[in-house]
């Protein structure tokens, strides 16, 4: 059984290894271990900061999700908010509540997954807090950096802007359903389960949009397209029209027909894809790449003056697109 000091020391060693000198040069004057971290901002920069909770039995199940996955996904989710501002990830803080039974082997797998994610995303651990708790509770604070006035907010969409999304929607939700229904032969669909277990924040696309200043608003699809699009519309004081046939919905393999999943429903309301949903003024639409790296970008609709969020179905019928994505406080029906 490790003491709190031992756990903190273990976290510090795993995350920093031999990079400390470089990190200090980069602006982290004091990291893990003091009362607080000390950071020196670069002149001309702004910082974006987000916090995100990842909780056992709410966001993950210890029986189903390996500790490596939990560590990776916790940091990935939080970092997606940095991508959604158009910023570059820099530092993070880990606040961890752990059962005694998780302080050794589980802790080892967890930190390995988080170290992997931190390296992939360019993040450095700067501090945190650990305490004993009956369940695993994780809170992450992530800091990103960008040039002044380059942050892409939810509130900048204008009537006439094109509505765009990265990647494919509903993939993570389908993966979750495959896992929850204990579908046999899960290994035949590694891509589906992978998206649920190891979501990829769209950092390159987010920073491309931030640098080229051609997105008027942006959000990440953490709660599902229908809910996240409603956030953009509400904060921008606009409406939207989405064309169902344009939505890059997940492909449901025929072998999974027993699950009775409708691809369009998964794409509209399924959570945790962590794709970028953004708007682009028409005059900039020519600049927009169809793909950035391996990630496709698709125009799925347009922003309207009338403050309604509408879905134009494949049958040509227009109906309201209600926010039916994830809300932790909505009563289950």
């Amino acid at each position: 059984m490790a003491s709190e000091s031992q756990l903190i020391e273990s976290i510090r060693k795993r995350f920093l290894s031999n990079r400390i000198k470089q990190v200090i040069k980069d602006g982290l004057r004091v990291g893990v271990g003091d009362d607080a971290a000390v950071l020196r901002p670069r002149s001309g920069s702004e910082w974006v900061i987000t916090t995100d909770a990842f909780l056992e039995n709410v966001h993950f199940l210890r029986k189903i999700h390996e500790p490596f996955t939990v560590g990776y996904k916790a940091l990935s989710r939080a970092t997606s908010d940095i991508a959604a501002m158009g910023a570059r990830p820099r530092y993070f803080f880990l606040t961890l509540g752990l059962p005694e039974a998780c302080t050794e082997k589980w802790f080892d797998g967890f930190t390995k997954g988080m170290v992997r994610a931190a390296r992939e995303f360019g993040l450095v651990l700067a501090g945190g807090d650990t305490t004993k708790y009956p369940e695993v509770i994780i809170t992450l604070t992530v800091l990103g950096e960008l040039k002044r006035d380059r942050a892409i907010l939810r509130s900048g969409a204008k009537p006439g802007d094109l509505l765009c999304v990265s990647g494919r929607l509903g993939v993570a939700e389908l993966g979750l359903q495959v896992i929850l229904h204990k579908t046999p032969n899960q290994k035949r669909w590694p891509g589906l389960v992978k998206k649920h277990l190891y979501p990829q924040p769209r950092l390159a696309l987010g920073q491309w949009l931030g640098t080229h200043q051609c997105a008027s608003s942006m959000i990440d699809t953490s709660d599902g397209l229908s809910t996240d699009l409603n956030h953009i519309c509400k904060d921008s004081g606009v409406g939207a029209r989405v064309w169902a046939e344009k939505i890059p919905a997940v492909h449901v393999p025929p072998e999974l027909s027993a699950l009775k999943l409708i691809p369009l429903d998964l794409a509209l309301h399924g959570g945790e894809d962590y794709e970028l949903l953004f708007t682009v003024p028409k005059k900039f639409s020519g600049r927009l790449p169809r793909k950035l790296g391996q990630v496709p970008v698709t125009v799925i609709g347009e922003i309207t003056r009338e403050r309604k969020v509408l879905l134009v179905g494949t049958d040509g019928q227009t109906r309201p697109l209600r926010p039916l994505g994830w809300d932790p406080f909505r009563k289950q029906t």
Copy 2:
């Protein structure tokens, strides 16, 4: 039953009221409600950042602690780390897990307590995350600001430095014991219970020490003098000698004799006083005020080259001072 969006909107309204313009002028370009907050640092400044978890049944009991107290104390504890760096508190982020039963009346009292604390400490809410959870779990991230190279770390103590502490030690622990033992007539000792319920981060003293640059190291006494002094000594590579008779220990009223509490033990190992423990090079000792505002400053020992932490008892005997303060992972004995 409120939705997540309603809770966030309620939090935003309560904390910001009509101060938004001033806050934006001060450097918070985007606050609560987007994917992340956007902050513009002042040139020549450094930022200190801390995170702190405050959890039901670990750090507080919902049956005993009123929601107003929980909100106030959660922010106060986290802000104490900012005081311990010598910095000025600026922004905070609230991550909140709430049972459904706590989203209305309890939530109302909680936010009132936290709003009170934020106003007293000069903090502005900049973001956060809310989710449903079976118990109340609170994680705070607090940002403070100071001039470059002014942060007072744990690692700067040198042999010969004086060891100093603010306020009176063991007061919060005595208050906790009074509450836990359901001592009758608690209202006769409002001061004792008050320190446990409403700890005061020593912001004025911390900033005075940061500005006047006369402290070589500092920590706040969150876990108890014995444990926190060991942190300073370990991080500075030094030892310390503490004189028991100099320690400003709590006065235990004779009416509480049934609790069999020893004032020196409370002062050495009792947690949650949130006083400042700091070291001062002898050449600066003349600058040190005996009081700052209502808060006394007491010299209780000295830093030694030999790496041992020792207590010189009132009997003149010297013995090791072991870190017996709060450690959430230590087995209860």
